[in-house]
Amino acid sequence: MALLAVNNLSVRFGGLLAIESLSLEVREGEVLSLIGPNGAGKTTAFNAISGYLRPTGGEVFFKDKNIVGRNTNDIAALGLVRTFQKTSVFPNRSALENILIGLHLTSKQSPFAIMLALPSVARDERLLAAEAERILDFVNLQNKKDELAGALPYGEQRLLEVAIALAAKPKLLLLDEPVSGMNPSETASFMAKLAEIRALGITILLVEHDMKMVMGVSDRVVCLSQGRIIANGTPAEIQSNPEVIRAYLGERHKRVVS
């Protein structure tokens, strides 16, 4: 069964058709990668799916509900959580507080209960703190819990971002270039982490430029170029697909010229 079904999604920025009738399905339990040269529309697709921008046309079904037009926070509450291409943490808060914010949806505290300091609030806070520590453990940041997120090394900030998203208890996790800027050993350990995340029963839609990672972790790969799907298949099929090679070579060629 498709956990996420995107039908004929289009996004237009003025004269630019950033995504042109994109259709794809993410099946429960799989890792699907979305690849494509710079400017292909991958991040735009994420933004449209997760409610950050309203698509010009098309539908997005998550758990069989059309989520187009819903607020991002409501989509997150349904279990669809995304991360960002550019490093995105709460920089002036400790790593632990970052996770506590990520646990927003788990937390059950009404404003009145908070202001009256009902015992249920203190109990909830203790549960949240324990849970946050567990999540930090999971990404091996337990010894950084009191450090400001903005002061962590780059690779650890990227891990923290994923941990924040995990705290929101996603059913489907959209990762936008999670290893960009990581060194090879960090990338390798992130790949192992991804397998653990998957083992938790979380379905993953991954955007990534690191082909070694894409080929290593994906069940299926969809290749996007100029807003359209040009190929779709297993990692092996994608690697040898002439259209894909042309799209990437063309991109590299353009870069050399400019």
């Binding site: 997760s50 950050y52 607020n71 991002t72 926070n73 997150a76 509450a77 959580v81 995304r82 991360t83 960002f84 995105s88 943490v89 709460f90 920089p91 002036n92 808060r93 507080e97 506590l100 914010i101 990520g102 927003h104 949806l105 937390s107 505290q109 404003p111 908070i114 202001m115 300091a117 609030v121 909830d124 806070e125 924040i164 998203a165 705290a167 929101a168």
Partner: protein, 319 residues
Amino acid sequence: MKAAFTIAGLVVLATLPWWLDNPYILHVLIVTGIFIIAAISLNLLLGYAGQLSLGHVAFFGIGAYASSLVSLGFDISLLTLKPKPVWMAMLAGIAAAGLCGWLIGRIAFKVRGAYFVIVSISFVEVVRLVAVNWVELTQGPMALNNIPPLSLLGISFLKKPSNYWLVLTVAVISYVLVKRLVQSKAGRAMVALAENEPLARSVGVDVTRTLVLATVVSAAMAGAAGALYAHYIRIVDPDVFLFIYTVTMVIMVVTGGKGTLAGPIIGGLIFGLLPEGLRAFSIKPEIQWIIYGVLMLAVVYFLPAGIVPALKRRLRWLS
């Protein structure tokens, strides 16, 4: 250690009227305390939720006017109201301010940043114009006079010591409420929005709800400060809406340390007591303002995060 300091401080503050038998100083402390309550309320919005409201005095003024009017009663063409007990009037003032906070919170969701600043300034101006021009209700520039003092459980809050204790109590309550909020889910959501809104939304933080909660609590608290002010000074005119009062609150919060619990108290004490302190040394008003301004600039320049964060850093460094 920290608890011992807090208790000692509270004991000193609570017993102050007994060993400081000076009505003038008590008056200064009462007015400063009222401003500190307003600063605490502004801090929730500005320091934690990250919304610069340059119209915060509107909530203060609405609390003052609503409470005064309900306690005095009024008789306008649409509606007549018999005078009500002052405690009830104060609750009405708090509710009226909170309601306006709800309205502004809904708008804040649509317009953020610079636009919110403009909306908040316009809001004060509109309310001030109503206060000036709706003479039938507000007496306009002639002011509402003879506002009754609070009397509750047989105690009349007419004298300075009782007013002092009242203000102290409300200040402590305000502090505790803000502390509880910011150390919980609600406050974390506010901070998250202020620091990284897209990320906050991605983990399920509802922008509207969070901002509305911040503005309602903040406005109601500022309204309480306004109500205290009205029944203490016992006269309210449209000048309560002057921009300078908002500026004073912002200065208190920013110099003390926005987004810290003690910030508005420290900033409020310094900038509330300073003018009176300078006057006591019979320094000319112009010089007073210069000292005030220079001190403010110095704090903002040398301690951009405010006094409290700087002190905390120093303490941590020492230990």
